[in-house]
Symmetry: C2
């Protein structure tokens, strides 16, 4: 969907222009406060001659100009006729504030919504809303927003799209935030969240895309947008409720979005390198930091500079809790700092500069410059609590010192951020000054280092070698059926999963013959899609050697199973070579209703069950991605030569995971779930062994 006429209109008509409180009045007020060039903004009201001194047209048809976008401030009943009238004037975008649609939960509401969607489609108008708060385009000065907020210059490079008007408004009110676009999309019934995200990812004026979303509607589009962002290395920062069961229920009930599994959502963002945050403050501060920095550090290696030992300790501790790397300073740096700092300071990273330097801009600049020049450092974090009322003159000198370094280093200046230790940082003068030289002020440490962790992950992410797609489009049917162990294994074998040779003995004679020819002990298991828990019904016999034992086992299994489950259709007895024991892994696939097959890997038994030590990643995936999954497990070290044990055959394991993911993607339209439990992993060069497999499919 092309959103240019909606979001970057050349001409705008405000329908229902008014001087009263309400949508019409607020849009007119906002427009008059912010828009300098009113030459192609038209106010429309059937009964008014003028609004706030601006002449009014009786109807959109009366306007002597073509119109790209109309802001419809009038009630639900007027909307479709207005769209029709607008279409004739060239309208390609419209904002609809009115409620009375799906959100009211009545049949009439749903009918109104369906009619609006149909009309928008027929007239080819990109409609924002209904029941939304509208948007502001700060780049071209388009005001189509239904709420007034305190006036200030907000033009910048954060592109916001939010499904919540309240959160959008809070972002607009956040001191220091500067936007390219601020879009409060409401339920997004016509133009969807994914469409706005795409616009912002492609928009040249938008440096950071900042999103509050309650649920993904179009997973394929969502993936495609994130892929474009990854290619451009443009950060997409996403707040989505639903980490907890209660949060998920609220998100689902609130907009009626189909809420996929939250863990799947996380895994999708990880694949595409998008940033997920936990609350609004984190969304604001992460976006603000990413937008303010002139460029991002080349590597996630930080220096921390503070004015006291207590503050330095906090940065060391909270940084380390978030995995922030503070490399040791190089010997030259230490030697130079020893000259630049008071004799009682003991230079180190994090660095306690002592408070004395904060009262001399040149000394401060000197020490900052020394730290920045360190070859092990790519970003400098300045710890300082900037007070709302500047009682302490230190900030004057520190600012001058920072400004000097930024100016003198020019393009070679490494990124700098300021971290206050208490939330008292809204001194607008210095916030603005620091913003202008590309130095963001972060929130206090617990947030700040969480945000720097996002930065570290963002710059460490690479899309190279990743399969940047999803296999979205899972079936919704409720009826399912299981495949037998043998059938499950055979489906996987077709996708390169290494399955030991096995046969189904349909008669006791076949069993005897196979056992006689086998040169190893066998496992014998009842082969039936109806019996999932084979051991429970006496359907498994292990370590069978030779003809006699096989005959006995065959007869016992058959007798046990037909006794316990007379209803089950039995295909025979599966005869498999006994696998030698190895490290036990579990590989599972769950076909997420939104994002398609999600591959789960973990070490067997308590590792998965008690410690929840699992990795989740969307199919399809390649062997390198499988390796990344394994490396993210705490138990990875148990695979990798733990305590002198043999190193496991990790390449064979990765090949198996990738094969399973290919199977899952190829069967995304029928697969419900898949379990390999256990998979034995053997020492290097000896491969893996699938000990059991179960595939469950949807009935087509």
């Amino acid at each position: 969907m092309n959103l240019t006429k909606l979001l970057k209109p050349k001409s705008v008509a405000v329908i229902g222009a008014s001087e009263k409180e309400g949508f019409g009045g607020d849009v007119c007020r906002n427009t008059l406060s912010y828009v300098e060039d009113m030459s192609r903004v038209y106010f429309v009201h059937p009964k008014r001659e003028s609004v706030f001194g601006v002449p009014c047209y009786k109807s959109i048809s009366d306007i002597p100009d073509t119109i790209d976008m109309m802001v419809i401030c009038t009630s639900q009943k007027t909307v479709i006729p207005l769209l029709k009238e607008g279409a004739a004037k060239g309208v390609g975008g419209a904002v609809v504030f009115a409620s009375g649609y799906g959100e009211i939960g009545t049949d009439e509401g749903r009918k109104n919504e369906a009619e609006l969607i149909a009309a928008a489609k027929e007239l080819d108008i990109a409609v924002m809303g209904p029941n939304c708060a509208g948007f502001v385009n700060y780049i071209d000065n388009v005001q189509a927003f239904a709420f007034i907020s305190a006036k200030r210059d907000r033009k910048g490079s954060v592109g916001v799209v939010s499904q919540s008007g309240q959160l959008c408004l809070s972002m607009m009110d956040a001191p220091g935030m500067r936007f390219s676009y601020s879009i409060s999309a409401g339920n997004g019934k016509i133009v969807q969240m994914e469409d706005y995200m795409e616009f912002l990812v492609e928009d040249e004026d938008t440096k950071v895309v900042s999103v509050y979303i309650e649920g993904v509607k179009n997973a394929a589009k969502f993936a495609d947008v994130l892929k474009k962002a990854a290619a451009k290395k443009k950060p997409v920062v996403i707040l989505k409720a639903g980490r907890s069961a209660k949060g998920g229920a609220i998100a689902a009930s609130h907009t009626g979005s189909l809420s996929g599994s939250d863990a799947s959502f996380d895994a999708v963002l990880k694949k595409f390198g998008a940033i997920r945050v936990d609350d609004l403050e984190e969304l604001i501060a992460t976006s603000l930091m990413l937008a303010t920095l002139d460029h991002y550090p080349k590597k996630a290696v930080f220096a921390s500079m503070n004015l006291s030992g207590g503050e330095t300790g906090i940065c060391a501790d909270v940084g380390s809790l978030n995995g922030i790397e503070y490399p040791d300073f190089a010997p030259e740096t230490l030697a130079k700092l020893k000259e630049q700092l008071p004799s009682y300071a003991s230079p180190n990273n994090p660095l306690d500069m002592t408070a004395s330097l904060s009262y001399d801009a040149d000394l401060y600049a000197g020490a900052l410059s020394t730290v920045m020049d360190d070859p092990n450092i790519e970003m400098v974090l300045i710890g300082y609590t900037l007070l709302l009322e500047v009682a302490d003159p230190a900030i004057h000198y520190m600012y001058q010192g920072i400004e000097k370094v930024v100016r003198e280093k020019g393009e070679n200046c490494k990124p700098i951020a300021m971290i206050p230790f208490a939330e008292n940082t809204r001194n607008p003068e210095y916030q603005e000054k620091l913003f202008k030289i590309g130095v963001p002020i972060l929130p206090p440490p617990v947030y700040a280092f969480k945000i720097l962790r996002h930065l570290a992950d963002f710059i460490s992410y690479t899309s190279e070698g990743k399969t940047l797609e999803l296999s979205a489009g899972a079936p919704a049917g409720k009826d399912t059926f299981a495949l037998s162990e043998h059938d499950s294994k055979m489906e996987l074998a077709d996708f390169g999963v290494d399955i030991p040779k096995e046969v189904i003995a349909k008669t006791v004679e076949e069993a005897a013959a196979f056992a006689e020819s086998a040169n190893c002990p066998l496992a014998m298991k009842v082969e039936s899609a109806d019996i999932l828990h084979k051991s429970d019904v006496g359907g498994v016999k292990l370590n069978i050697c030779g003809k006699e034992a096989a005959i006995k086992a065959y007869e016992e299994i058959m007798s046990n199973v037909t006794g316990a489950r007379p209803d089950a259709k039995i295909n025979g007895i599966l005869m498999v070579p006994m696998l030698k024991p190895g490290v036990e892994m579990i590989i599972g696939v769950n076909n997420d209703p939104q994002f398609g097959p999600m591959i789960m890997v973990g070490m067997g038994g308590v590792f998965v069950e008690v410690f929840k030590d699992v990795a989740l990643y969307p199919a399809p995936l390649c062997e390198a991605e499988a390796l990344d999954m394994l490396k993210s497990l705490k138990s990875y070290k148990l695979l990798n030569g733990y305590r002198g044990n043999a190193k496991c055959d990790i390449p064979a394991l990765c090949k198996t995971i990738a094969g399973i993911s290919r199977y899952a993607s190829a069967n995304k339209d029928t697969l419900k779930e898949l379990d390999i439990n256990p998979l034995f992993v053997y020492p290097e060069g000896e491969g893996v062994g699938v000990a059991d497999a179960l595939i469950v499919k949807h009935v087509k």
Copy 2:
């Protein structure tokens, strides 16, 4: 040490009173801004007639009054003579700002410090400092603080003591913070941190004790203070650097405090129910919340009320990440809310009230009252982003609604806190109004729910049944020696640890005789304090049955060991019944240099090594505390009847842990470390088996 004359003086002399910038000038300025009754505050300067219009005395001896406390604003060289002069006038407390002591790292500095400590002791004067920023007593209006901060009413109930002047100042500048005392204690060479903490714990005007500490100096006193606080149920909130290796090094270097293990520090706080925070913002906000609430909730069960779905989802998610419990509302509550909220709202906890209610005080009060009356709820969290510049009138109505509920419920009003979603909450008018009715404003969710977790832990803590003491006082010697397995076990047996019957065979005949009389298979191990890794030298034989096998094993072990370790003193061969296998646990003791023996418990093997799933707790401890340790393990469920396995003999395990803790406490003066690895835990009623034990002691 009695701090009354220092911190609650009836008369004060400011030595070095001045109108210039610097200590003397700042103390005089602060005094004149804040102190109303100057009748017993005396300014002293040898050359001035008056300072800011206040008459000056030439010396402290000239003052026609007894003096409790002197604020010494003059240089290092003047301090001891002044203390002597003051002592004659009755001085019992003094603040010393001067530097030139231990902190400068020279011999002269150290000498000055020793002399000052000796003089203070001899004269019986409680000296704050040296090299400190002083204190303010807001209750009795005593100003002995060396820095100016913006003037406002700060009298309240948070008692602060900080080893960092910078952090103390930042707390004093935090909007909304109100103090009983604010003490910037510096290095605390004479009056120590633990003394100030004790004063604040005992002080009736202090409701919350808020501490920044770099290291504990007197562990026994520290424990005693925390015990007093636990008895009074007075919260002690502590920020201490050192969670990370780098943070620990900074804290240690900065004040020269002996930094014990950070994990031990955590365990000590846990035992006594003190609260540990990660940064200054968390310290401020936790203290402010605890001081503002009129009373604490009876149980940690919360309701969350918000104005939008997005905000509700954030509270659900971030609350749940912090283990906050949101019980479902009772049916009556839901029914009542359905009447009180708009038809499209779907009542639930967390609750999206929709924004409409925020514009009507009575409706808001009605819904708040309904939620508060719910029998499952003990505290209400109101989500609302209070803007710095109040553009949105909602807060007026919401405040009125809240005030009405607080007033009408009176003593039955359950605690309320407000949570903003973005940090933009410094609107001083409403912050003050809400403070006055006992409603704190917390920081945004990532901090807020961390802080509410602290509250939940604080109110859930009980000192009942806990051994509220430490066995501090570990030896510092470097030379150590190990006990043999048998000797280690025997020492433990004396403290009630169940040790299987075992003998040391000193000759092959003794070995043969014991094996003959034994009615079970035996393990035979070389018994020598010189050989810690017995298997490595062929010193272990397992499953020995009968005389012949014992003779063979004896000879082989002796031959192996004397070959491999001809130097080792061998006591004989330890002969132990083979233990049947059970669930493997590890119990360890490490004698912390500050806090004494710390008991460590974990499940054997990868659980400890890969997942770091261990519990740490200071000795002594009782069986109930041992059980709490076990319950804190993720692997606890493996002991407690996991997946149909037999339940382990947890009482026997607890008894063993408590016995080991008694042993460790009794041997705190010699013990270095102790390891039982593994301890087999058997099914209920079958006890435990110590399979190996190693005690290492300090040479006295």
